[in-house]
Amino acid sequence: MNTLERHRKLSAIWASERGLKGWFSTVNHTDLGRMFLVTAFFFFLVGGILAMLIRAQLATPHSAFAGPDIYNQIFTMHGTIMMFLFAIPTFEGLAVYLLPKLLGTRDLAFPRLTAYGYWCYVFGGTMLLVSMLFGIAPDGGWFMYPPLTGAIHSPGINTDFWLIGITFVEISAIAAAVEITVSILKFRAPGMSLDKMPIFAWYALVTALMILTGFPPLILGSVLLELERAFGLPFFQADLGGDSLLWQHLFWLFGHPEVYIIFLPAAGIISTILPVMCRTSLLGYGWIVAATLGLAFLSFGLWVHHMFTTGIPHMGLAFFSAASTLVAVPTSVQIFAWIGTIWKGRPELHLPMLHILGFFLTFVIGGLTGVMVAVVPFDWQAHDTAFITAHLHYVLFGGFVFPVFAGIYYWLPHFTGRKRFFRLGEVAFALIFIGFHITFLAMHWVGLLGQRRRISTYQPEDGWTMINLISSIGGFILAIGIAIVLVEIILHAMTANRGKRNPWKAGTLEWAMVTPPPAYNFASLPHVTSREPLADDPGLPARLARGDGYLADPPTEGSRRETLTVDISTGRPDYHVAYPGNSRLPIILAAVTGLFFLSLLLKTYWVTPLAVTGVAILGWLWVWSRGHKKDMPPQPIGRGIKLANSSTVDRSPGWWGSAFLLTADATFFGSLLFGFAFLWTVAPGWPPPALFEPSALEFATGLAGMGISAISIRRAIGANRVGDKPGAWLVMALAGTGLVAVICITLMLRAPAPPGHAYGATLLVLGGYGLFHAALATMMILFLMARVRGKFAMTACRAEFSVVKLWVDYAAVTGVLILMAAHLPGALG
């Protein structure tokens, strides 16, 4: 087979449907990455327009531009859009587009999940946009503190749009995070051991893990607040045993890691591009990996620095102040490693490099003001003033927008296969850079002069008029710069100005392909022996296209999309993977998921169970279509190696995906237990008037159910492995999860007065959590039973069994904890 034939064959297998239809059924990471990025940039423009409205309003005192009710929506939506609909999705889009190419493979771990995540993002984002068009957008500020956002003080639907819309969008973040984690750990080119991974992959891995552990607290907070608003369960109402500080803890437990979730991918871009711009390699790869990990962890111990003025005792504040200063150290390791990299090489001032220099100045200032506000007494003054607004933009704009612009200009030739024609970018950079600093330097100052954030207007006597005017002028210069970037990108996409391959002479694998990239990325997969394979072997692209690597021969029959996985640490080939093809299932599932959220938003609760049923059915189909009626023998991958297929192994991609999804789930559960303990120790009105009546019978029944399900699923697996019928054991497991479900229902029914006290409300939620997982496990066991009855080749293709075991075990373990949380206090006290 020659190069062209191979290209034709592979393209036929991997291509999306032609035309508009293709957009809705594509599961290809290159398509979806582009779609993510374009959508995110659209939201950046919307958020930017809102920012201009803010600056217009604040340009003069006594501004009559917008009244407070509209103004509050404007800044809330600005912050919300920038954080949730621009920054995070930009990371997702970049990672989705780049990772398989950097890692030398053909797609991400779960192509349909990528598409599902994208559509959840689009639908959720649309919900928020619609609210803005109707003038009923959220207006409680981007961190939505109750009681202001509770039903009493914000009775309208505005807040619900935020709670429900953002939770919907977060599904896409969680989906992307699971996807990215599994892809980086398992889906790499053979030979790529951990130390040979491109540095961006490390950053993306750490970021994805942070999303998995950082977002659940906010999802929990949103669920609780929505439950309070819709059904009167008083989690945040002080007079009914709730506490508004619980929200602040949950929000910032998410919110601080969030800013590092935004910064780290940008740092990954810098670490990737900077050495190329300086014609050298990155200084201190291992140090940077360690610093990134350290940063990620430390960032989970900083959240209270957003709560320095809430009345927490000084020792509590001091812990977080100390941790907040410490987090500057791994950041500084990276900064100096980068400067050392510039020294090590010969820097060239291409456009991406300009943005990197813009990043350096801006981000270092932002970091320095960050250390300032980490000092408790100073924060007592600076908190909630324009100083904070200035600081956060130095960090977010400096630490994210500049690097992303560097990345866009760097990878634009890759996205399109063209080269820049109109040299507008340099002018745009100058305007953005100057405009930004005028806008926000001024805001530090006016903050110290006492201007609070989020005020809709001020008085001439306040003495802030001049500074605000200057700041607004800067804002408009900045906006013009961004408009020019937009124009340039559009022109770039429209002019047919073919560029050459690898224009920057980079060493990483994404440039080892033609651009724009073919749907399958690599005609054959490379064997990686260093961090910069392309630098070592400039002939690599041609050899791969010729079919010198792994999986060079497309399957002769059918049109299976194939790739392979590797062992996590060593990069040895592990097993063979066949992907699903184009499908409309993701967009349909996302739409039905959207229906679920919409029914909650509009309080048409009769639709909710229908939507849940729809999701369950579609989810079932999703997995069902992956079954095998025939045994899957080991598959040849070239170079004389045969690998087992993923459906025949215990640690399949599905298992890894479940394991990381459960990590997020466990964080959610842990946050719920934390909330319970927090209310018990800190909230006014505790201990509750009446404790849950403990019952030895229920407790024992619950434990028995969990034990039975966990043991039976193991027996079922054992039986299946030796070729026996697992049916009887599966029925037992089903009985076990059924018992657990019943016990959770009784717990919910017997929870003392949920609307009357946060105690009962929390028990209700705990019971609901247990019930949900018991139901999920039940459904999975039923699924296995259906497989066995349908005479699928389960003995060989046993992967699904170990996935189900994971979920059954999880339901059992959390079930025990739930039972203890409910029954023990009453039994002990």
């Binding site: 407070p68 009681p147 201190g284 000084h314 100096f336 270092v364 006492g450 006597e461 802030w464």
Partner: protein, 222 residues
Amino acid sequence: MSLTFLTLFTLGGCQGELSTLSPAGPAARDIATLWWGMLVGALLILSFVMLLILMAFRRPAKTADEAQQVRVWIVNLGLIFPVSILLALLVYGLVIGERLLPRSSAEVITVEAEASRWSWTFSYPDRPGLQTQDVLHIPAGRPVDIEITSTDVIHSFWVPRVAGKMDAVPGHVNVLRIEADRPGRYAGRSAEFSGSGYASFGFTLIAHDPTAWESFLAGETG
């Protein structure tokens, strides 16, 4: 950069009655000093880092070995340099923080502040029965503990020239220690977003000299 700061400084002026930089009490003064110190430190660090970057562009090509470069850039500059500065700053910040805590002492006067959308109600255990609306009376030159709470949403008690801020959280009573050097009127603001009336939500702090305070307590004024 620093030039811009200075220009803005003169433009904005220091006379603002909400300025944290014209302190009129020990807490605000400690914090303003802290700020100026940190500003100088930050500018030095910033210039140093920017200089390093600039120098990278115009220096004779030389090659050091990688281990040496790691030692210079990562260990010395990346680790040791920030650790030493941050440790000093942290200790300084904690010491000031300790100093500003509301420790009990005979001299301290207590006032209760209750926020609701959008007004402050102050009451005075030393003068039972009296409540003032949006005007807070304290003696000048004596430490005062404000016991802060809220009846509806979260607010924050802030008199920028006198001290830092403290939130008013429903169901909790938070204590903030303040002290005004001299008799006079000081502008206060609620500094936590509270909805449509937030922009103009403020109050006035009046610090009395000893005789005026005595007569206030005796019910002759207020």
